[in-house]
């Protein structure tokens, strides 16, 4: 697997361009995101991999426009972000559904905040729910859904506005392995359908390799590694158990260990 250097050329083609972005929660405090350069071409899925606390969520919020960078800039289609981007859909770490709305109304929330949903929009929401396997549960409230089903609703909600960019913050981290694999496949299908660009944050190497066209490794607020995943698309579920997939995971893991240096080197657990 070839290692490509993080792009440093600010004019590099990228639908999403993160340019030397830095972020401090307090002025004078530590830089939680520190000089990150990254570009995502339109239609690609990039994964951000790193230990918890390394600044992944913060970087994702910068890409969403929920936080504004203390240094550098974030551009979407060439335009610098000044606030939450209307072109982006965000899937939070917890499903963040509204308990008092049905699954269908939760999916329709982005629409209903703008206008009364039309029949066509309601049909589109039902269609999205069907695509994530919840056709029969549209009227259920979140409390009557399992964890995996809630995550599916959250993904459907992020996709209802057909966003150009999908930002996902460890959306499947709390789910069991089987459900997680199903949701990964759903996500790949849905992204392929509209050619959606995505930035997916995870701490799971397998997840990053399975989903990503490219994987960036983050540590201490910096991007320390970037690798292109040379696996063909569409990726069949059985790919996860092939030697070539295992080799890609191992290579990434070794790269992460190598980066951490011998002092903090730990046996692979």
């Amino acid at each position: 697997m070839p290692t490509d250097p993080p792009p440093t050329d600010p004019s590099a083609p990228g639908f999403v361009a993160i340019e030397r972005a830095g972020y401090r929660y307090e002025a004078g405090g530590p830089a939680v995101v520190d000089g990150v350069d990254w570009a995502i071409p339109r239609g690609e899925i990039h994964c951000l991999l790193g230990r918890s606390g390394c600044g992944k969520t913060t970087l994702l919020k910068l890409a969403a426009g929920l936080l504004l960078p203390s240094e550098g800039a974030i551009r979407i289609a060439g335009e610098a972000l000044r606030g939450p981007s209307p072109r982006a859909g965000f899937v939070f770490q917890a499903p963040t559904l509204l308990d008092w709305l049905s699954a269908l109304d939760n999916v329709l929330l982005p629409v209903s905040l703008k206008r009364r949903p039309t029949a066509a929009e309601r049909a589109a929401a039902r269609d999205l729910l069907a695509r994530v396997g919840l056709a029969d549960l549209a009227e259920r409230r979140p409390r009557e859904l399992s964890g995996g089903q809630r995550s599916r609703v959250a993904v459907a909600r992020a996709l209802i506005g057909a966003p150009d960019l999908l930002l996902l913050d460890e959306p499947f981290a709390a789910l069991d392995a089987l459900t997680r694999e199903e949701l990964q496949d759903d996500l790949l299908r849905l992204c392929a359908l509209h050619g959606t660009t995505a930035l997916f944050v995870t701490h799971d190497i397998g997840e990053a390799v399975y989903l990503g066209d490219r994987v960036a490794v983050m540590a201490g607020g910096r991007l320390t590694q970037a690798r292109r995943i040379a696996l063909p698309r569409p990726r069949p579920p059985a790919l996860r158990y092939t030697p070539v997939f295992a080799a890609a995971c191992r290579a990434l893991r070794e790269a992460m260990d190598g980066e951490a240096g011998p002092a903090s080197r730990r046996p692979a657990a």
Partner: protein, 249 residues
């Protein structure tokens, strides 16, 4: 019903014990009237129709005081939650206003508003204001950051975030405040009447006291308790309806 049977049985035992103590304990009925006398008095008050106007006055004071106090408390809570600068400015004053014993303001309110229902309604409203304001402020502040980020991401206006996220999410906490306010409203209305009432259940207690009619006082206790329980259950009903709509399903 079967669940309430033991409670009911206990009540009967207690009443029987009370009755026996009055009859055979040589206690003056002036100090503690037997339940049979209290019930007879209560029956007489109901039959003669003397009770109803007083009940109506107290219920009206309670309802109006609770309604006004709760609405103003809710509004103030929303305002302070939405404008933190205002909250920082006004919190000490709001707190101080709550630490003033409001019943002690009764005589002042009589000077301002005269005798009658108004001073009692004002006192009741002042008492009900605080639990609603406090729970609204707390509830609105507790809405989790991820859901607020979600609404920002969706481009929701401030008003939309308030009406479609914060208020529904805070509703269980606010309703708990309302329940507390109901109990306080009854105390406010009855004690308010002690100070300046011409009519109402509290005023009737003072009148009964001046003629040493302790069985009438007990009869009025029963009416007041029943009124309180009725209103409390009404609020519980509203709460269940609202929470059903806004939370579980």
């Amino acid at each position: 019903m079967t669940a309430r049977l033991p409670s009911l049985l206990l009540l009967l035992i207690l009443l029987a014990g009370w009755e026996g103590w009055c009859r055979f304990g040589g206690l003056s009925p002036l100090v503690l009237p037997p339940p049979s006398a209290v019930l007879a008095t209560l029956g007489g008050e109901i039959a003669s129709g003397r009770l109803w106007p007083h009940l109506a006055v107290t219920a009206a004071e309670m309802g109006l005081g609770l309604g006004i106090g709760a609405l103003v408390g809710l509004g103030t809570g929303i305002l302070l939650a939405e404008v933190p600068a205002l909250s920082r400015l006004l919190r000490p004053y709001v707190l101080a206003s709550q630490l003033v014993p409001k019943l002690a303001l009764g005589p002042l309110f009589i000077i301002w508003f005269g005798f009658g229902m108004t001073p009692t309604i004002v006192i009741t409203a002042l008492i009900c204001f605080f639990p609603l304001m406090e729970t609204t402020l707390t509830g609105l502040g507790e809405v989790d950051a991820a859901r607020r980020d979600l609404f920002r991401m969706l481009g929701a206006s401030r008003l939309q975030t308030l009406l479609r996220l914060k208020l529904p999410a805070a509703l269980p906490v606010i309703m708990a405040g309302l329940r507390v306010a109901v109990v306080l409203a009854l105390v406010g209305a009855v004690v308010g009447e002690f100070i300046g009432g011409r009519s109402g259940l509290g005023a009737s207690i003072i009148a009964a006291q001046s003629v040493m009619d302790s069985s009438l006082i007990f009869a009025l206790f029963i009416v007041i308790t029943a009124l309180g329980m009725l209103l409390y259950e009404a609020v519980r009903l509203v709460e269940r309806r609202v929470l059903h709509r806004f939370s579980k399903g």
